[in-house]
Symmetry: C2
Subunit: 261 residues, 2 copies
């Protein structure tokens, strides 16, 4: 979907999200508008279009938007769908249910890369219908792509702002912005891990926990445990420090016993 | 991650979701508890554990839960983390920020398959901290897996219920329950499409839109358009019906002109 040049340039991808407008049609509850604004902003979307919202602006919308007040303030209130879609070259409609109209319906994961690809150059829209009845047939007729979020068959009633959250998230991931600089595990190199196992085995012999007869099997079990944990260097240092002190302590006790005898 | 046997058995996978408990620690706003219950239920999760919620049960929680009232009614209110994690073999903690503690942090998409794999056999937990400060260090210490939802660097403040929604969604998809029986496009077979193009070209000649000199290039452009749309049989029938009538009408006009002359 993305050229290598684009994939390596997060600035382009962030800009591409600015080409994505979220269009909420005839929303009933202002709280949902606010929560949708917050959901959008957490994923880097900022263009909110409202077609005939029942109540807007509204204190409840402000409260639910939290610090996404700017998204609400910049929201474009429209009286028609045409107005909201002006300049848009690709419209993805969110459908909660199977329709009579036989139209291809994609999962968010399949659809969002198409939106991203287009948004790299031109404005695209995500169109959400009302809380109660979704998109009208006239609205559906304006969508080139239909998207349905997978839900549990026994309870399909996704909240509007929750749907905006999921779609915005998938869009962010499709734009390649789903990775972050995280503190990853830095496992120690093999030779350090081996030195730890040698130290461990020696220490377990010293404190007489291991006896040569059973040592192989027990050491295999301990190897399995620590291998699974993928030890970091600092952890090896801590564990070896514990081993050193344990054996010293044990050695001193043995020496004392010998001295007394 | 999944054996073929399991992957082919959605009953197992639905059951596996019942082994997933959502643990909300010290939640401040009852509305978030209700919205989280609704979010869980849309994705097939039902086990809600609440550690010392500030206000519960609560009318606002009920209102936000919508028809997920059963999830709230069956919620287990605990006074300690130990209580909430009893019987759980794998704990995934949601972290909103980079911590001092150097622990490997996974994306939801990378982490949820691990949870699903384990939940096929034994209970697992998704642990969410408070709205204001997330998980405490004591809570973090109980997590085998750390998960961070990718967010926009310029606004990271994801609502608690929105986070529950995203994680539950990723879990459902990881369990292989993200596909649905959708009305897919049923493109017509090649020979039918070809017959349409032959008909189209003939009709365009008949109505004198096409002249032999330019016909190849124009037909290529029309082919490109209709190929992109991937015509279904019914659509071909409609288009050919239009072509038939257009040429008939045009033929009649020509005949009238001839008769008059």
């Amino acid at each position: 979907m993305k050229t290598p040049e684009v994939a390596e340039n997060p600035v382009n991808l962030t800009k591409c999200l600015q080409n994505v407008r979220v269009v909420l049609s005839h929303t009933s509850h202002p709280g949902n508008i606010g929560a949708a604004a917050r959901a959008m902003k957490t994923m880097g979307l900022e263009q909110l279009y409202l077609i005939n919202p029942r109540t807007f602006p509204d204190a409840q919308a402000d409260a639910m938007a939290s610090s996404a007040a700017d998204v609400l303030q910049n929201a474009v209130v429209c009286s028609t769908l045409d107005e909201a879609l002006q300049g848009v070259v690709l419209v993805a409609g969110m459908s909660a249910r199977v329709r009579d109209i036989s139209q291809e319906v994609l999962t968010p994961r399949a659809a969002m890369p198409l939106l991203v690809e287009q948004a790299l150059q031109q404005p695209v829209a995500l169109l959400f219908g009302t809380e109660m009845s979704g998109l009208t047939n006239d609205e559906l007729a304006r969508c080139q792509v239909m998207v349905r979020i997978p839900v549990s068959p026994s309870y399909t009633s996704l909240n509007l702002a929750a749907a905006v959250q999921l779609i915005s998230y998938e869009l962010r991931l499709a734009a390649g912005l789903g990775e972050y600089a995280a503190p990853l595990l830095s496992p120690a190199p093999a030779e350090q891990v081996e030195r730890f196992f040698v130290h461990l085995e020696q220490a377990l012999h010293d404190i007489e926990f291991l006896h040569s007869k059973h040592s192989t099997k027990l050491m295999q079990k301990l190897r399995r445990l620590y291998s699974r944990a993928r030890l970091e260097q600092e952890e090896i240092n801590i564990l070896r420090g514990i081993l050193t002190l344990s054996t010293e302590y044990h050695g001193k006790l043995k020496q004392q016993a010998k001295d007394k005898a």
